[in-house]
Symmetry: C3
Subunit: 162 residues, 3 copies
């Protein structure tokens, strides 16, 4: 399995890092398991908020979340519930525009400019039969397995599963 | 966007707080994104458990979760899955009563009495076209954006997204 | 309610533990609220990754998650979304096999051998009318309420709600 010790190339690096932990900025590490539009919004808004306040932020996209990293897939997620006060997805999008909520594309751009890191789950890629060519390379910083995630998360002040 | 630095009125206050961090009680900060009945139960039970054990607790209601803060909306959430061992929502409620599990209203009352804090997400209110008058003021302590959340969460021992 | 102070038998023990906190390994504590197959995978893979890297890990099974601890229930969870790139559950399972992803049974075995702890939620058992005899005793280390969870989580580096 992919959590086997042999795969943790970063293990040593992480241990070295721990010794200077006090001087590092706080970090938020979020697993994006869901591909639902509203949950991707929550993940990016929290991450961008953390970055804006001087924290680091990493998003680990896995399972349905990884689908949003496919070329052209970012805005394609469904709502996690059919109705939001009786509103469907297009109605929500138009209301978001009115409320000056940025598009996911824009939020992602902000995330990258603020220094956020996106990790794509290799195991999900293997299951889905998806190659790097199928994914939007502009969105992804790194490909990793659970060891990559644990390294990020164990040093984080905020850990979420979305 | 609402995570812009200009909106973080509490930034300074938070930094001041950090200097006395050692003397503060542990905290749990939970994003309540879901409006499903069973997930609202989980959020309140964890929060009340934390409060009972001397911790602080904050619940940040956003997206579908915010619907539960509308007047009369607390008990109106669906189950996150259609069947719980083949049981529907009314059956679950009657079984909960038999197992001496308190109603959401009662759990919320306990939460407030134990000193818990409820934050309502302003962005969701704007998207939904919902005003403060539409929300149950007895439930809400504060209105905030992601900066409010990050301030709470970065100092917390337990951070969850529900 | 089950979060009342009177039930926290471990309270003192926990406080004693805090004094030697520096020498303890990092910990990951995960609430498994969902019974969906893909989410059980995420929970176990994260937990096993943490254990493999020298951390402790606890899984607290509640609500739909607890159904997976029933005798023969482990592999019975549905997918959290109907389609995964158009694939149903059996297709996903066959693809996982091809990608050398272990079965849930195997992941659970690894989890136990690596020293992970499984806690079953007593409140859910009462609601469901399920007894210890209905649950797979090989999977469970402990029966507990929210106080048990909070004790684990407040000392953890990684806290997730899945």
């Amino acid at each position: 399995m992919e959590y086997g010790p042999s795969k943790f190339a970063n293990k040593k690096k992480m241990r070295g890092k721990k010794m200077v932990e006090e001087n590092k900025p706080d970090k938020a590490t979020i697993i994006v398991h869901s591909g639902d539009m509203d949950k991707i919004y929550s993940a990016l808004i929290v991450a961008n908020g953390a970055l804006s306040m001087g924290m680091e932020a990493s998003l680990y996209f896995t399972f349905w979340g990884l689908q949003r990293l496919q070329k052209g897939g970012l805005e394609k997620g469904p709502l996690s519930k059919m109705h939001f006060l009786g509103l469907g997805k297009s109605m929500i999008k138009s209301r978001m525009k009115k409320a000056n909520v940025a598009s996911l594309e824009h939020l992602f751009k902000d995330f990258k400019e603020l220094g956020g890191k996106v990790i794509a789950c290799e195991m999900t890629m293997e299951i889905m039969g998806v190659s790097k060519e199928d994914l939007d390379q502009n969105l992804i910083d790194e490909y990793g397995a659970v060891g990559t995630y644990v390294n990020e998360a164990r040093d984080s002040k905020i850990t979420l599963f979305i």
